[in-house]
């Protein structure tokens, strides 16, 4: 009984407040449009490509890119993890000091046609953090990919060229 009374009350309130609610949403939309238009770098209304749609690569695809040397690899783990062993030719952009590392490889990133990021394993977050950071730094999302298996899987593949040591 109390619930039905409560529901009735909520429905009455919703009926009464809907017009104001719509007005508030319209007001917010107008401000959003004007604000975006006046920003120094307005955001495009239509997205070119959805990064969530095809950002993840399978092991087979990654192995093919390693063999053909057709992509630039970014190791998003910490510098100490990178020094212990990484994919030969991969650059290190540690997620905790990404600003510092980014300036070193900015040119290579801009020139690359495909960039593949990896971190420790499928549970790590560093790859996604660096992925997001690179987008905000003007690297096109369409050429960024993530390998979710991470170094844990790559390391276990016998054909993967490995290198030990810090980034020069």
């Amino acid at each position: 009984m109390a619930w039905s009374r409560m529901l009735k009350r909520v429905l009455t309130i919703i009926k009464k407040e809907t017009l104001r609610f719509i007005l508030l949403v319209l007001c917010a939309c107008t401000i959003a449009v004007v604000y975006n238009h006046t920003r120094p770098e307005p955001m495009d209304w239509i997205r070119e490509k959805d990064p969530g749609e095809d950002q993840h690569l399978s092991l087979t695809q990654v192995m093919s890119h390693i063999q053909n040397q057709s992509a630039l690899f970014i190791d998003a783990r910490s510098a100490s993890e990178y020094a212990k062993g990484h994919l030969d030719g991969a650059y290190n952009i540690s997620s905790t000091e990404k600003e510092f590392y980014f300036s070193d490889v900015k040119r290579q990133l801009k020139d690359a046609s495909l960039i593949i990021l990896y971190c420790t394993s499928s549970r790590c977050k560093q790859g996604e953090i660096v992925y997001r950071y690179l987008i905000t730094q003007g690297i096109s999302a369409s050429k960024l990919r993530l390998y979710p298996g991470g170094w844990a899987v790559l390391e276990s593949q016998k054909t993967v060229p490995m290198q030990i040591g810090e980034q020069p």
């Binding site: 909520v10 407040e17 609610f21 508030l24 949403v25 401000i31 239509i46 997205r47 990064p51 999302a141």
Partner: protein
Amino acid sequence: MKPFLANKYTQLLIATCLAIVFILAALLKIKNPSSFAFDLAQYQLFPFWAINPMAIIIPWVEFIFGFMIFFGAWRRSAALGMAVMSLIFMSAIGSALLRGLDFDCGCFGGQSLYAGMDTLIMDMLIAGGTLVLICVTPKPFHSKDTSHVIRTN
């Protein structure tokens, strides 16, 4: 419980907390809409053409609701809006959890708050707070409530 929730100071406290959360979340997203667009895409729920318009508009809707609640204007309408938004957020996070997706929820503009049970609970608390503002009419704390007085004559 109801007299406590109807107390104007309780309502003021709830309204202020909700307003701060919404305004803060909105400002962080407004500052970096591309990061928020990335988070929205990670949910894999929305068509790609809708991502950018959503990333541009949603933060301002949040801001307006927070602003109205804070200044007490059209409070019920704004609370209704917040309730609708928190329900949408809860559904999105719940669906991501069910599908086993693991990513930043985008709640505070890329502040590394992962879509999980804690963000779901946070949204539930927000929804609860908005329901209080919608359903319970505020009354002054010192209003004379004589319902508990037993009549002797």
